[in-house]
Amino acid sequence: MAATLVLKIMGVLSNRTSGKFSLLDPLVKIVITWNRNVCYFCYIFGILGFVSLAYESVSSGVYISENALLPGLVHGQFNSESVAREFLTSIQEEASRYPNGMPYAWIAAQFQQLGLDVGTQDFVLRYNIGPKTNYTGRNVYGILRARRHSSRESVVLAAPYRPPNSVFTPTNGGIALMLAFAKAFRSASYWAKDIIFLVTEHEHLGMEAWLEAYHRVSPAAGLVDSGDLKERAGSIQAAINLEIPEGRASYIDVKIEGLNGQLPNLDLVNLAHRLCRRERVQSTFKKRVDPYDGTSLEGFLENLETMLSMMSSQATGVPTGNHGFFHRFGIEAITLAGYYEPGMHHPIRYHELGRIVEGIFRSLNNLQERFHQSFFFYLLSGTNRYISIGVYMIPFSIMAAPLLLRAVSIWFDLVQSHNAQKDLTSLNYDQVCGIIILCHVFGSCLFLLPSTAAKLGLSYFEFETDESVYYGFILASVIIAMLLMFPVKRIDARAIRCIAHLEMATLMFATALQNISLATFQAFIVTPLFLGTGTASSRKGVFFKRLIVLLAHPVMILHVVLLLDAYRTFPEETPPSILLKSLSAAKRSVMYSLMDSFVYGNKMYDTCIQFYLPIWMLHWLTAGQ
């Protein structure tokens, strides 16, 4: 859109070939001279605006939008505290017999005894990079059929199974709650939707495999062979994932971030918080409690920290729980995680947990349609404050505008100099287009890199797959950077830079529609770095500009971010050990990002290689020229 606007204005300007300038000439002069200051102003103003979103007057209080939900109106009937505790003891006993696996048969037998329709699903993950290993697993699920209604719609209650030797906290409490819930409500006559009780294996992989089999699609590269499911229950309307270690908790954390930064409908999140409040249970967001006084300075800072915490987890595109894989099927889902901190009197017991889950399901039962009333795009600065897309887009756009404004200014400048010079050294369109296409081709070729690097690394250096991919990337980046250091004519460089700015702005705005946190961090990091690559006078200047662009390389950004994250997670360690930790994390992270993209469809790696790297290459090439 900016490009067409620019072309239109350019068309107006370039009609005057006689040398007389058009009426727009003063405007053009203003744009060119003031551009630098306007860019600074926009960038800083955008940052301040974004920070101010956490302020109570700017964010809004949450409310339930969907009238049909009627949250908390019905009296809870869950009274099976002792039943749940018995289930918990049996699960723990059974789990101790399989320290590394899942007691499939036992769980299936429990579902069977409760009278549910039981199904199991075997899935296989076939790695296509490095040594060709296969990774198998099995999910078990039971369906409670609604008595007086046809099985057209359903809701899911899920829990990931974690064996005793797993590094994650166990979830046996959630599974026990699931079984107790099924036992208590299997004879209820008021269910209008089927309830699917799902126990998955291997964390994210199991859930993704189950959903792919249920919907008979393969959103990612098809590495997972999910088989088919025999028992089905119509279209799934909503899902609740439970991560509760034992039968007690101090607070319930509601996790919302999904794959590629997709979020569940705000109504479902508010429903969970409201039902927790009804049962006098502390509910948190990002494990943070709401500030006592949101209008004070401390309150504002706490809200800001919560918002930044949400943005940092949303930006990675990695879901914070198994719920994250439901969102792209149009199924709203959240995770309820219970954390127990000793020393708290009156911890939450199965009674309250059961009532909360029951309340959520009774409200979901009332729904006639999928969630559609409340927001799908929002930021939360607390459990009860939200910022909608209409509000957060404004500071983001102001922050991302400098790239567009600089592109416009460069174009005006080019046209002016084109009009002014009689003996013009015209733009070499072929070279410009050729360079742009070349950089994008480099980007696409990098898709072939990981498998080649893994093969070579294994055969020659005996590296692990993740190490060989990491070193391969660094090597490839260095080679490409050195290839792209050839000199380019000033006017061509400026045209290329203009196009590169436009591309980057397009990428940021397009990302903002899907994952605002990622787009904001892109704008925050990349805008000053790319805008600093203007024409330099001396060779030292060119070197300096190239250094600035180097800071914007994805691998460099990755290292810096991991360093900061290591410092935040281990503040007590010495700087060298933090550095070492971040380096080892960086090695693994490239591989994780790759596998995330292949197995789950996380777009971070794809966008980076396909779009961001070529743009970076264009900036690197034209830095200082």
Binding site: L73, V74, H75, A146, R147, R148, S189, Y190, N366, Q368
Partner: protein
């Protein structure tokens, strides 16, 4: 024994008291314009009025009940086959004897207007027709979701106050009613009767324009709001009315003051020609009509050998007697037990 024959004669007026009922039959049109489980309270409103109206004497043949009827057998109903209007669940207003005339997706604006104006296609069953005449008093009760100047029908369409006013005018031109008591229990209810221009309509709305009508209480066992405020207090009043009550319409108009209803009850009485203080509640809610009783000079019929013998000049003697006898003291028959 004063009488041997009782005859109902059209359009005869009592001359004794100031109380002058002017109708000969009673009809009720009860409409619930909403559907879905969370609108349970609208169905409870409607059925409570239905039960009151039946109790006070209007038979099912003269009640047109229009509702989506998706409550009692809704899968979400923890008390299947029943609809309650109170959290204590004393009365099942759905019950076992209910005749819903327009159910489900038949409750549309077109059907409603056709019902009122009588322009139904040939072959429509009699139970779906409003067979009123110029001596009918009609109680029209509507509940659901409304706004400023419209009523929402089943989440798909709306009827505007202009359409409704025109429908009533058509009824007046075709002499399809004697008087109408129009009650509407929705948000901004008063906007629905702002445009009326036909005579003999008394209109009551549960809230004024710009106000919302509120629900009364929640039934935590069923998990829905169970009844609206205006109807709750109207029912409280109607419970004190029986077939032979002397309660006046003016008392009914004062039901649900602002401290109970929170919204303000709106009334339009400029089109109504009688004084509500002189109109009995049962003239609209019940089936109480003026009945003329006269005792003929001679017995017209004989009873011989277990048969009633009708003489050949029966008709002539009958009319003759009616014409030439001096004015008798008219009184209500025994069945109604109204004190003299």
């Amino acid at each position: 024994m004063l009488i041997q024959l009782i005859l109902a004669v059209n359009c005869l007026f009592l001359t004794t008291e100031s109380f002058k009922p002017s109708h000969t039959n009673n009809w009720a049109v009860l409409v619930d314009t909403s559907r879905f489980w969370f609108n349970y309270r609208h169905v409870a409103n409607l059925l409570s009025v239905y039960r009151s109206v039946k109790r006070l004497g209007i038979p099912d043949t003269q009640i047109i009940l229009m509702m989506a009827d998706d409550m009692a057998c809704n899968a979400r109903n923890p008390r299947p086959a029943s609809v309650f209007n109170n959290a204590k669940q004393h009365i099942d207003v759905y019950g076992e004897e209910i005749e819903v005339d327009y159910r489900g997706y038949e409750v549309t604006v077109e059907n409603f207007v056709r019902l009122l104006t009588g322009r139904l296609p040939a072959g429509t069953p009699k139970s779906k027709q409003l067979l009123t005449d110029e001596g009918s008093n009609i109680l029209i009760y509507m509940t659901g979701h409304g706004g400023d100047g419209f009523l929402k029908f089943q989440d798909a369409e709306e009827i505007t106050n202009v359409d409704l006013a025109d429908a009533f005018e058509q009824m007046w031109q075709k002499r399809r009613y004697n008087e109408i008591l129009f009650i509407v229990d929705t948000c901004q209810a008063a906007s629905m009767f702002q445009k009326f221009y036909s005579p003999n309509i008394l209109a009551i709305g549960s809230s004024l324009v710009g106000e919302d009508s509120l629900s009364h209480h929640v039934d935590p066992a069923i998990g829905v709001y169970i009844i609206d405020r205006y109807t709750y207090f109207a029912l409280e009043f109607l419970e004190s009315v029986s077939r032979d009550s002397d309660r006046r319409l003016s008392e009914f108009l004062e039901v649900c003051p602002k401290r109970h209803c929170i919204s303000t009850v709106g009334i339009r009485s400029d089109l109504y020609q009688r004084d509500p203080r002189e109109v009995r509640v049962t003239e609209f809610f019940g089936s109480v009509r003026p009945v003329e009783v006269y005792s003929p000079k001679e017995t017209l019929l004989r009873f011989e050998k277990n048969l009633t013998v009708i003489p050949s000049n029966f008709r002539q003697r009958l009319t003759g007697t009616a014409l030439h006898s001096p004015p008798r003291k008219f009184q209500y028959g025994n069945q109604l037990r109204i004190p003299k």
